[in-house]
């Protein structure tokens, strides 16, 4: 019984991280209908950014989140404007996807050259503290990361819901043409969406870097996980990303505990496939618009 509760707790904590690590991907897919393969590189980039801040400048990873989000915002804006928007305007969905792939290759290469391909991790002073509640033990780092993840999702949610630009983003997602007829500059909205999504991807990367070891090549994993989370929960909605992330976290830890670690990824990918075949719009369906 304790083992099950422990597994569930671990699953939920991990799921929270998966949720925050997928919101950016979800936002871009929902608003621009682009499968953004650069997602994982922004996540991993965030982790490396925190590593530099922590090991070189001695800044606590949590404190490095805001400046890193700014950097990622600027990078995301530039990347969208220079590379992705021209591909989107070609009207071929695969063109945009390939361009994001090309950008990712370049970024992975630069990260590898700069940091080598060896495994890195960030371990601030509090990273080995365990909290005990009855028989259940909780890593402090995971709890902190979980809480930060939820806070970030809440911030993004209120931005989309209450701010002027957030409303413009949602309107563009519903109907690009309609938004343009109302005088919205769709290109600016796309750039903003991409920049916001990149910032949140980088922030999630900092949290991931505090919990798990990482390499440049890990970016693939985080792109694929974001895929699964979004497919499970539905495209373009924060609620969907939350639900998808938590479900995936539970499935992942349950599989690991009761079937064995070798089956974890297989089960996760199988869920992706089955969800696509049975309910291609995710459990909650598309919050923004019908799938194509």
């Amino acid at each position: 019984m304790t083992a099950l509760v422990q597994t569930l707790v671990n699953g939920l904590l991990y799921g929270g991280i998966l949720s925050i690590a997928a919101v950016g991907f979800s936002l871009i897919f929902g608003v621009m209908s682009v499968i953004n393969l650069t997602h994982g590189i922004f996540v991993i980039g965030g982790a490396y950014g925190a590593l530099v801040a922590w090991s070189v400048l001695g800044i606590d990873p949590l404190l490095s989140i805001p400046p890193l989000m700014l950097v990622a915002f600027a990078l995301g804006w530039g990347c969208q404007r220079l590379v992705i928007q021209p591909a989107v305007e070609r009207g071929n969905p695969v063109a945009a996807l390939l361009v994001t792939f090309g950008f990712t290759l370049i970024a992975v290469n630069l990260l590898t050259v700069t940091f080598s391909s060896s495994v890195r991790s960030i371990s601030p002073s509090y990273s080995f503290i365990n909290l005990r509640v009855g028989d259940i033990s909780i890593d402090l780092v995971r709890l902190v990361a979980f809480a930060c993840g939820l806070a970030l999702i809440a911030i993004l949610g209120s931005f989309l819901r209450f701010s002027r630009w957030g409303r413009v983003i949602r309107a563009t997602a519903l109907s690009e043409l309609g938004a343009r007829l109302c005088g919205v500059d769709a290109r600016a909205v796309y750039a903003l969406t991409f920049a916001v999504a990149s910032a949140f991807a980088a922030a999630s990367g900092v949290l991931i870097g505090m919990m798990l070891p990482f390499t440049p090549a890990e970016e693939v994993t985080w792109t694929v996980y974001a895929f699964i989370v979004v497919t499970l929960g539905g495209v373009g909605s924060l609620g969907g990303a939350m639900l998808g992330g938590l479900l995936l976290g539970l499935v992942s830890t349950l599989t690991q505990t009761y079937l064995g670690a070798v089956y974890t990824n297989m089960v996760m990918f199988l869920i992706l496939l089955v969800t696509l075949l049975v309910r291609p719009n995710g459990i909650l369906g598309s919050a923004f618009k019908a799938s194509r």
């Binding site: 209908s33 499968i35 590379v83 021209p86 591909a87 070609r90 071929n92 969905p93 695969v94 063109a95 996807l97 390939l98 361009v99 792939f101 090309g102 950008f103 990712t104 290759l105 370049i106 992975v108 290469n109 630069l110 590898t112 050259v113 693939v220 694929v224 895929f227 497919t231 070798v262 089956y263 990824n265 297989m266 990918f269 199988l270 992706l272 496939l273 696509l276 075949l277 291609p280 799938s291 194509r292």
Partner: protein, 316 residues
């Protein structure tokens, strides 16, 4: 008619010329040729589905992996047979098993369109890759070894060079035949507008399944050769996302609008990687990335598209 015979003659001459090359080239260049034929073969197989129907699979490495493991396991059943028979047996196993699995997944997966089909194929590849790594029959993380089937009198790289060339020729011939057939016109109609195609009486579901199974089966047979050439396979080496991506990138660089697109793309990309970038190995990924972005933004119809545009301009 005369034009068709000219094309056929030229093709035969070209293949003959390529076939005698290994007698004059250093082993390194023969291996480059082999890589080009293998990736061109894969790209054409992928294009059989994507180019005809615009169903972009992001997980075609699934069929490479299936073909490779089917060949490796099938060869264990006939350890004593003559090498030529073993080769045929391995190719057949790759073809049939990949085709069989493609048939099973075709119907459910082809109901999905656009991005959803693309992601679903990625998921298929991921699931199969993980399953092969997890179950001991497939050698787990240690993998499986394949026998060396090259005769003693022939250099190994030349042996596989010829096999890969022959397979590429077969795949191209099939693609060419389809493009002039009723199936080809039906698939093109599906690519342009699936609903309108159905209204005109194109049996869309059946045609898509045929293209998918054909594409999967042929990928599987080349996957068998790929495995034999490696001599040793693991889940990671044959269920590899980058294999799927190479098929896509090669086809796009060459041009989706023509059968020759994937071949030209594979030749250029592999050539650039192995010859030009050999000394820049450290920056190989970044240069590939720049190349992809450049092609998509500057030459969206690929090299063939550039050439056609130029000819059109000269004609005016």
């Amino acid at each position: 008619m005369a034009r068709r015979i000219t094309i056929l003659l030229l093709a035969v001459l070209l293949i003959a010329a390529l076939a005698i090359l290994p007698f004059f080239l250093k082993a390194f260049y023969v291996r480059v040729g082999l890589s080009i034929f293998l990736s061109a073969g894969f790209a054409v197989c992928w294009w059989l589905l994507a180019g005809f129907t615009s169903y972009y699979s992001f997980g075609h490495t699934a069929f490479v992996g299936i073909g490779a493991f089917a060949a490796a396991l099938a060869l264990r059943a006939v350890p004593e047979a003559a090498p030529a028979l073993q080769l045929a047996w391995a190719l057949g196993a790759g073809l049939v098993v990949a085709g069989g699995i493609a048939t099973i997944i075709a119907w459910p997966i082809l109901r999905l369109r656009g991005h959803y089909f693309t992601i679903a194929m990625l998921a298929v590849a991921l699931v199969l890759g993980e399953a092969v790594a997890a179950f001991p029959v497939f050698g787990g993380s240690t993998g499986l070894a394949l026998p060396n089937l090259a005769p003693m009198s022939v250099r190994v790289e030349a042996f596989f060079y010829w096999i890969a060339l022959a397979l590429l020729a077969v795949v191209l011939a099939i693609a060419w035949a389809i493009s002039r057939s009723r199936l080809g016109y039906g698939l093109a109609a599906i690519r342009e507008d699936e609903d309108a195609a159905q209204m005109l009486g194109v049996p869309t579901t059946r045609f898509k399944v045929v293209a998918f199974v054909l594409s999967g089966a042929l990928t599987g047979s080349i996957g068998a050769v790929y495995a034999l050439n490696l001599g040793y396979i693991t889940s990671d080496s044959v269920f590899r996302g980058s294999l799927s991506l190479e098929m896509i990138v090669n086809s796009l660089v060459g041009g989706m609008g023509s059968i020759l697109g994937p071949v030209i793309g594979a030749a250029v990309m592999t050539g650039v990687t192995k010859l030009v970038l050999a000394d820049l190995l450290e920056y190989h990924l970044a240069i590939t990335g720049i190349l992809i972005i450049a092609v998509v933004l500057l030459a969206p119809d690929g090299i063939v598209g550039l050439w056609r545009r130029r000819r059109a301009r000269e004609a005016e």
